[in-house]
Symmetry: C2
Subunit: 359 residues, 2 copies
Amino acid sequence: MGHTLEVRAEARTYPIHIEGGVRHRVGSLVNASVPGHSRVLIAADEHAASHYLEDIAASFAERPDIYIIPSGEESKSQEEYFRLLTAALEAGLDRKSVICALGGGVTGDLAGFAAATFMRGISFVQIPTTLLAHDSSVGGKTGINHAAGKNLIGSFHAPSAVIYDPETFETLPERELRSGFAEVIKHAWISGDSWFSWLDQFVPSLTKFPKSKMEELLSASIQVKARIVEEDEREKGKRAFLNFGHTLGHALESAAGYGRFTHGEAVAVGMLFAAELSRNILKADLPIHELKQMLTRLGYTTEIDKHLRIDDLIRRMRIDKKAADGTLRFVLLHELGRPELCTVPEEEVRKLLEKEGLT
Amino acid sequence: MGHTLEVRAEARTYPIHIEGGVRHRVGSLVNASVPGHSRVLIAADEHAASHYLEDIAASFAERPDIYIIPSGEESKSQEEYFRLLTAALEAGLDRKSVICALGGGVTGDLAGFAAATFMRGISFVQIPTTLLAHDSSVGGKTGINHAAGKNLIGSFHAPSAVIYDPETFETLPERELRSGFAEVIKHAWISGDSWFSWLDQFVPSLTKFPKSKMEELLSASIQVKARIVEEDEREKGKRAFLNFGHTLGHALESAAGYGRFTHGEAVAVGMLFAAELSRNILKADLPIHELKQMLTRLGYTTEIDKHLRIDDLIRRMRIDKKAADGTLRFVLLHELGRPELCTVPEEEVRKLLEKEGLT
């Protein structure tokens, strides 16, 4: 069965294969998407590697080289980036080689940036193993973190293929599923209300979600992202809509220290915040109550940590990559499916943070 | 007077302004090429900065931020790259900012790579101050070195403008002029014989070259490069012709230790070597004698350092970025203006190196 989508990027059109068990066919799919390639290096998250690396390596006619990446956001560092490049050189990769990323968003971002900058860019294949990576593996953003903020160093480098096996979710902790599911809800909110209703109906809890629906869910959520990045790969316009919930979300992640919140937990709070801002500023009539109910049912925190300081959060939001000239910018919604990128006056943000009980 | 050329790159078409004194108009030319930009950071080579930074900074309505790069190839390091990115973040650059590179090839490659990867790519302006940089400032290649070889890490990132003031050559040592002039000769050899004759006629020595001819020389040499990179920006075909003399050249540079030879000195030896290979393999009738005479007259070494080892040079040529699957690849000439990228059997290379007296 399975679903195959196509994404038209500037540099190439690439397929997204979504299918339970597709990990056993990675070798032939890489050959189909990168004909005539030379050596293959699999850059694998250590946890994903322990479960799935053998299946994938065995699917290649010639055994690929392997580089293991320690799990966690700390691996999106300059040191790990250069270690990976050095490993690629030591493995004898050349300009016709392929780097495959096996793991979640950290692995994809890091290995993608290495592929983007190895000998000025070589082929790159995403093999996501988390729900969250359904978002990051599509659209060609790659990068690493800087002490001053997340993803401040990176480039656009479209993959040659995305090979997505939802059977790999079976080894994910619930917290990881929750992190990824926030992006599914985001895609539903920015694309329209029917999809949000579908989620409400079919996702009573993250652990009871019927497996048979997972390919459908991934395909629908990825389509939202794919259609947007096709229209605006380099984020000059509507790609910014994908940042719904992310202005405050990123600030929460960095203020609390990476790892305290998962990305999705921070984005969930950020979406509620952006929804309230939309009501206050655009007078939008949004199903905020239903969103909060769904988030609560699925085990998200819906309140901002009272230890955080308003001035610190605002400072962090000002240096967000999406900011321009230090203004505060949020994706707000006029209604489900009708987002707009807005410059928001600081007093509106401050007022809402104070209402949350912050000082 | 001055010359303005245009280069059509994938991402944009950009102007190359060549004119004595144009450094006093950098501010308005940057505004014209990057309308609506926010902060400007000038990344300047320390020597170039000591002579020209004030002229350039004064040409902007608002004083730009400055970052000084230590002179020398050692600055194309991962450490210096991250220092520059940190400086850009500390200066408050955002996605609409511009990085200007003031200096030679090292500065342009390093600052260009920083611009390519700062927040996934911001605008970049080249302000070359060496003759050698007439080559590297056009075509969008950026990058840094790795212990395993030069330029192994980098990306393609076309500049928004190249602003070239040949008055800045007045503070260049003769050895620097010599390094750059090798690329002028290379452009002449791969483009046809009339241009090589022009050089023979007008360049009796590097110090006596008439200033009035410099804009013409730069414009002609840059045109050769520009037309090639327009046809093949990402080096899938004829851009490789620009590597005439570089297969052995790069190996000499790295084997002798960077700094022992200038880039152009190594390329000069590499061109003679490739010319001899062309004669041996393609039976080409080339003006090798005239080339050697010109190189000698202009003060180049034309022999390979006897201390170097054949096996070491061959190993280095095999890991050149242009190599594929460890073969030895050279740009050979059928005649002046008719280059071809050839896979050369190791015994041919070895034979010629032995003839040079190496073991």
